[in-house]
């Protein structure tokens, strides 16, 4: 379907061999062997600085690290005071690791942080789609009109805020600053267009590092941070309103939200089925996507059902119903036969995206269910202590990571991919009378599938190795190890505790995880997404 897959498939996913073939027609070549030797010499000469460094700081350490993973090297045992010999101890470290409960907690933390990946990708896609809309008002006259009206809007807004403040109707001068900032952005955007917004969106991603982590640490500070002092009043008001509401409202709201989540999941299954019937997704992709979509039910069964038998029965019935539906749709005749593994990436993407939306709705449902109980507490509804509580520390860090997700590198990749979608496809869709949402799901989304798959795989690979900076700077991995990821575990074992051998063993475990994702990417990345 994609006419030029190579142009929007990012390069790492498909390393082109890039052979520059030897030209046999070339005249006057000196004797073949001399030429070859000459070429080899030049090639080596140009490569030598890089390859020496590569050997010294990549290949040799890699081999050393593998050796370390099977040794008992520990800075507490092997130092200038107790000079024991470093011994080969076989797979002891790995056995200890797999018996270590902490390891599973840290692995769980790492995987938990990965849950923000689909949300980040969805935000980036939103950013790219918004940025690629027409901002010029069509034509030169339209552009002039747009700019003029936007200038007018910002001038009116800023002056009215200033006047209101001067006459004392607003108590803070902060409003002037905020209105001024908004006005500047609007004016800049109306003059500079897409570039200005793209730049502003990308800045948080570009400056990320110690400075922004420290900034967020201060923002989250429960005592003098602006987030909690800003949340206090609205949350208290929400709490009071919740108590004033009739008590039956919240279970109803909760059920409504939960049903919305179920509807979303069902729609995901429906889309999967229709694509399966059309031959865009093979059987493997269909089953994999369905399993993904069934995940919330499974989790609900594991975590909530034990609480009450009513719950387990209703969830069980629901699961049976959906399972029956999946079974029925799966056994329906397929109109276009496709390979089993066809479109597996697209199916997973669909599953993940639906899952992200559904989990947000389920979270809201749970909030709605518990709101009156929390609000009825003696202290009322208060903002959480964020980084100081094991429950909120991870969501707080994920929220920080999502700041700027709308303008991330993923957004830039999507932006490039969007410009590569052939215009004829949209024209054809227009002729067929497609609605906007239909155009997005049936034209844009399939065309973006290679990019989505790439950023998703890269996000998992990066996410498995992430979390060191945040844990080191914000929380020291705490409270109670709730923000320690594998990367921070490796650092703490290697450089704080000094168990070099054990730390290497953990890092090789992580390496194997990353490798399996990479191999998955190589197997499915190019072949089955890009059809």
């Amino acid at each position: 379907m994609n006419p030029n897959p190579s142009s929007n498939t990012p390069a790492i996913a498909a390393p082109p061999p890039g052979d520059i073939k030897h030209d046999p027609k070339k005249p006057f070549s000196p004797s073949r062997s001399r030429r070859d030797r000459n070429n080899l010499l030049w090639g080596m000469a140009f490569l030598s600085p890089n390859i020496l460094g590569f050997l010294a700081f990549t290949l040799v350490p890699l081999v050393m690290s593998l050796g370390l993973a099977f040794s008992n090297w520990d800075l507490r045992l092997h130092n200038m005071f107790t000079d024991e010999r470093v011994k080969f101890i076989g797979v002891d470290h790995f056995i200890n690791l797999f018996n270590d409960r902490n390891f599973y907690q840290y692995l769980g933390n790492t995987l938990f942080f990965l849950l923000s990946l689909p949300i980040g990708i969805a935000l980036a896609l939103l950013g790219a789609v918004l940025l690629s809309q027409d901002l010029t008002g069509g034509g030169r006259r339209g552009r002039g009109l747009t700019t003029a009206s936007l200038l007018g809007i910002s001038v009116v807004m800023v002056t009215s805020v200033v006047l209101l403040t001067l006459t004392g109707m607003f108590t803070t001068a902060l409003m002037i600053v905020l209105a001024g900032l908004f006005g500047v952005i609007l004016v800049g955007g109306s003059i500079g267009g897409q570039t200005v917004y793209r730049t502003l969106f990308y800045i948080p991603n570009f400056v990320s590092g110690v400075a922004t982590i420290l900034l967020w640490k201060k923002l989250y500070n429960p005592i003098d941070g602006p987030i909690n002092s800003g949340l206090e009043a609205p949350l208290a008001a929400v709490g009071r309103t919740a108590l004033a509401m009739p008590p039956w409202l919240f279970p109803v709201l909760s059920i409504a939200l939960f049903s919305a989540a179920l509807f979303l999941l069902a729609r995901g299954v429906y889309r999967l089925r229709s694509q399966h019937v059309d031959g865009d997704i093979g059987f493997a992709g269909f089953i994999l996507g369905s399993i993904l979509l069934a995940l919330p039910l499974l989790l609900a069964f594991l975590f909530w059902a034990p609480a009450s038998w009513m719950g387990s029965v209703s969830i069980g019935l629901l699961g049976l119903l959906i399972g029956f539906w999946i079974f029925q749709t799966a056994s329906r005749p397929v109109q276009f036969k496709s390979k089993t593994s066809e479109g597996i990436g697209g199916a997973i993407m669909l599953g993940i995206l639906t899952l992200a939306g559904a989990s947000i709705l389920i979270g809201l449902a749970s909030v709605a269910r518990n709101l009156p109980i929390i609000a009825g507490d003696t202290e009322g509804l208060t903002p959480p202590l964020w980084l100081q509580t094991p429950f909120w520390a991870k969501p707080a860090i994920m929220l920080m990571g999502l700041w700027g997700a709308i303008g991330s590198q993923t957004m830039l990749l999507y932006l490039a991919a969007l410009t590569n979608v052939p215009g004829e496809l949209y024209e054809a869709a227009d002729i067929d009378g497609a609605k906007r949402s239909q155009k997005f799901w049936n034209v844009t989304w399939p065309q973006l599938a290679p990019t989505t798959f790439f950023v998703f795989v890269m996000g998992i690979i990066g996410g498995l190795q992430a979390g060191f900076e945040v844990a080191r700077i914000m929380t020291q991995g705490g409270p109670a190890g709730s923000t320690t990821t594998l990367a921070y575990f490796i650092y703490a074992e290697g450089f704080e505790t000094g168990r070099l051998g054990f730390s290497s063993a953990v890092s090789w475990t992580m390496f194997i995880l990353v490798l399996s994702v990479t191999l998955f990417n190589w197997k499915f990345g190019n072949k089955y997404v890009n059809d």
Partner: protein, 311 residues
């Protein structure tokens, strides 16, 4: 005029349709501008809080009021500079002779390391990329595949052995120890190779017929042609090393050698209660990055889209 002119009628109708379409387009784009502005505004809020807090005296930090009630300044070189930004440099440092050494030193170390790494990495990567993209030698593509494979390696795996290597080289707690391992990059080689493959081979052949050797071809023809790629890699490398955390944290032991990120962490762990000064310090470390980005973003966006950057 009472006569009906069908042509004029059609024109009028077409104009009406055009105006309607134009109006819809204008309204649509105004709406998009406002949506985008609101999003951009929300993303700027943390930065706004940071800058405003960095101007406050300590007693005003916290609470609902974002604005400082007054901004204390000192005159430096005739320009009024907010007091906090001066205090960062000689905070808690009563010895006037050593005034300003800490924070300025961190800046200098960061820039020193990042510049050297950038220079060395761009040079070695460009040479290797030249070898991989424009020279014929047996086994070339196999070696390149090995390079590509190592890009997938988690850097953490090599961290402990690399530290041992640095101990045996005696480079722990030196800036050289930060520069050396970062000077060679598989990613840079990959990125520049992609760029160089787009340069036509006929240029090399023409130059060789004119009697240029491979070095001349590389230096006089390929390097100027690959300039956008070189600049992109240079910015990535510089910014990456300016803000790098892990390796400096492992390597650096004494305050005089700290780079800016490690210095900021040190500042936070020793004087983190002074939120206003910490925010002044973060503002000062972020501001040059934003400036670099705004000035050079043309290259960055291209580079990210072309190389699909690592991590």
């Amino acid at each position: 005029m009472s006569t009906i002119d069908p042509a004029a009628d059609i024109h009028a109708a077409r104009r009406a349709v055009d105006t309607q379409r134009e109006r819809r387009a204008v309204f649509g784009s105004i709406r998009m501008h406002i949506v985008l502005s609101i999003l951009a505004f929300l993303m700027c809020l943390p930065f706004l809080w940071m800058v405003l807090t960095s101007l406050k005296p300590l007693s005003e930090v916290g609470g609902d009021v974002w604005l400082p009630s007054r901004i204390e300044t000192t005159r430096m070189l005739g320009i009024p500079v907010p007091q906090n930004y001066v205090d960062v440099f000689d905070y808690n440092n009563p010895d006037m002779h050593r005034r300003g050494i800490q924070f300025a030193r961190f800046y200098w170390n960061s820039i020193f390391v990042a510049s050297w790494v950038t220079f060395l990495q761009v040079l070695t990567s460009a040479m290797a990329a030249f070898s991989f993209s424009r020279l014929q030698w047996p086994g070339r593509d196999r070696v390149f595949l090995m390079y590509l494979a190592t890009m997938m390696l988690p850097g953490l795996v090599m961290m402990i052995p690399n530290y041992q290597i640095m101990i045996s080289l005696g480079l722990v707690n030196t800036l050289t120890g930060l520069i050396l391992p970062a000077a060679f990059s598989a990613f840079g080689t990959f990125l520049l190779r992609q760029f160089m493959l787009t340069i036509p081979m006929s240029l090399d052949e023409a130059a060789e017929i004119d009697g240029a050797n491979k070095w001349r071809v590389f230096w006089d023809i390929i390097m100027p042609m690959a300039r956008p790629g070189l600049i992109t890699l240079a910015i990535f490398t510089f910014m990456g090393n300016y803000g790098s955390i892990f390796w400096p944290l492992v390597m650096l032991k004494s305050e005089a050698n700290y780079t800016l990120p490690i210095g900021l962490m040190y500042f936070d762990s020793t004087r983190g209660q002074s939120t206003h000064l910490l925010m002044a310090a973060t503002t000062m470390s972020i501001a040059p990055m934003i400036l670099v980005f705004v000035l050079l973003q043309k290259y960055l966006v291209k580079g990210i889209q072309l190389g699909a950057v690592k991590g």
